[in-house]
């Protein structure tokens, strides 16, 4: 029976590169998938593209491609990556350049366009009960394209497929649809394919990352965890594993945690390709770091594309200062009081104060002993940069004008982009495909 070997090369834009190289070298992969687009990444890329029409793709594209393409060529591994971000065409051109420099002539690079639907903003409708943002504030708007587009690009005999926004698990499903020729209405098969893609899409989170909790959940060699790969059968059942000699662990616990990660209703995980049902998914250990997964099901896909809109959200500023030794908490509280009074008139939007070590992440229980050192943090949203910088200056002024012993100030101001969802009729946008040879 035919099977496909597929690896996860990255789970976010800044992810480690060497585990991807390790997978290609030792994994005998048919496909390597890079998932590098968080919710806001594409809006930031869109801003870069505005100032330079050849920019707007993943900043690590050249590094990643340079690291993996030679081994991919040797081993016959095809690459699928959403590193096109806001500019898949420019990403493809750059990848062709990289391939030529590496002497990989004839490598076929495809790119997909059509996820950018900013020009269709007037046709957007609200997602569930969430109001649409003000039209004038849109920075970017991208449709979550599906596996059909990835499969179609692979049909062009592409060695590398570069996309913008494609639903994360659909990057993987596209490879399966292409390799097995699955019917796009075989809902149960597609649903199980989405299970496999969903388990792989965050790379290290399946193989021991975001998991270790000493004495409760120990992970061997966390400093060098291997990224996961799946051996997928024609019925979409799969074995999840990782490169031999890599660190980390794939076991029933890591699999169960990742299955439910970012999932709300487990019987209706909505993707552009299928509404997947995880409530029959079964994991079975086949050997060390080898987990069999089966039982995913599905039903019909939604008629609309989900859209992610990047919205201009003014400026965000943050400042921190530490207090240590006896009375540290009381001094930090006094400093907070000073900041509250001095920022009162400027903070027309929103401001927030935390004491790191006491209540910044979770509130310490009332009877918790006072810590030996704490860090006061002020963070706020501002309509303009001048007001944002005012927060930073007020924190910095605490050195000379605040409570005793304030130290170690760090601060930042940045333009903020918020993300809002919407939906758009599927017929409104038709993805396009191109391929070129290096």
């Amino acid at each position: 029976m035919k099977s496909v070997r597929i690896g996860a090369g990255a789970g976010f834009a800044g992810d480690r590169i060497e585990p991807a190289v390790q997978l290609v070298e030792f994994g005998r992969l048919d496909f390597l998938v890079f998932e590098c687009l968080a919710e806001r990444t594409i809006a930031l890329s869109q801003l870069r593209k505005r100032t330079d029409p050849d920019a707007g793709y993943d900043p690590l594209l050249v590094d990643r491609m340079t690291a993996v393409l030679p081994a991919c060529r040797r081993n016959g591994t095809r690459v699928i990556a959403n590193m096109g971000a806001a500019n898949p065409r420019a990403a493809a051109r750059k990848t062709i350049e990289v391939a030529r420099k590496l002497g990989l002539s004839g490598l076929r690079i495809a790119w997909i366009e059509g996820d950018d639907v900013l020009h269709l903003a007037k046709e957007f409708r609200p997602f569930e009960d969430q109001p649409l943002p003000e039209l004038g504030k849109y920075i970017s708007a991208n449709a979550y394209l599906g596996a059909d587009t990835v499969a179609e690009a692979l049909e062009l005999r592409a060695d590398v497929v570069l996309t913008g926004r494609v639903a994360d698990p659909s990057l993987f499903l596209g490879a399966f649809v292409h390799a097995f020729g699955w019917d796009l209405t075989s809902w149960d098969t597609l649903g199980q394919g989405i299970v496999v893609g969903h388990l792989l899409e965050c790379a290290g989170q399946l193989s021991g990352g975001y998991f270790a909790d000493p004495e409760y959940k120990d992970v061997p060699d966390l400093d060098r965890i291997g990224f996961p790969l799946a051996e997928v059968a024609e019925d979409a059942s799969a074995v999840l594993t990782k490169a031999e000699d890599s660190g980390g662990v794939i076991n029933v616990q890591t699999c169960r945690e990742q299955l439910l990660y970012e999932v709300f209703n487990p019987s209706a995980y909505v993707t552009p390709d299928v509404t997947a049902n995880f409530t029959g998914v079964h994991f079975e250990q086949e050997g060390p770091n080898r987990m069999r997964v089966s039982g995913g099901k599905g039903s019909t896909r939604p008629g609309d594309y989900k859209i992610s809109i990047g919205v201009d959200d003014g400026f965000m500023a943050e400042g921190q200062i530490s207090y240590a030794g006896p009375g540290a908490l009381a001094r930090a509280e006094l400093a907070r009081n000073v900041l509250e009074k001095r920022l009162g008139w400027v903070c027309i939007s929103e401001v927030r104060f935390d004491i790191l070590g006491v209540n910044a992440v979770l509130n310490a229980p009332r009877d918790w002993p006072a810590p030996y050192e704490v860090r006061l943090r002020a963070a706020g949203h501002f309509k303009n940069e001048t007001d944002a910088k005012r927060l930073v200056r007020e924190v910095e002024s605490l050195y000379l004008n605040g409570p005793a012993g304030g130290c170690g100030i760090a601060s930042s101001v940045r333009e903020n982009i918020a993300i809002a969802p919407a939906v758009l009729a599927r017929e409104a946008s038709t993805p396009t495909f191109c391929v070129e040879e290096a």
Binding site: E262, F264, N416, I417, A418
Partner: protein, 99 residues
């Protein structure tokens, strides 16, 4: 006994929604989770973080419960002023529940 002794947990976010899973270490403990880790108790635990009662999904095939938390408007990873803008620490907080 704290929930941490019999279950593990992972938090994920999309917009202002966060999911927090609760997964039994031993499959035999799953009925205990269903009985003790109720919507009412989890809503009470997370009251400072949420705007409406939590929703619980039972996922017996993986011996897990999945909770959906609605954070206030603006409390999403791209907008929140919190140090933990994602809500990733909510999994650790879940495990403090007394069983």
């Amino acid at each position: 006994m704290k929930l941490r002794e019999i279950a593990h947990s992972r938090a994920g976010d999309k917009g202002n929604l966060v999911n927090v899973s609760v997964i039994a270490y031993r499959e035999d403990d799953y009925p205990l989770l269903v009985e003790r880790v109720t919507e009412e108790r989890v809503t009470e635990l997370f009251r400072e973080h949420i705007t409406k009662p939590v929703v619980r999904y039972c996922v017996p095939n993986v011996f897990a419960l999945n909770f959906v938390l609605h954070r206030p408007h603006g409390e999403s990873v791209t907008r929140s002023l919190r140090l933990d803008a994602h809500g990733k620490s909510l999994s650790s907080f879940m495990l403090t529940l007394e069983i």
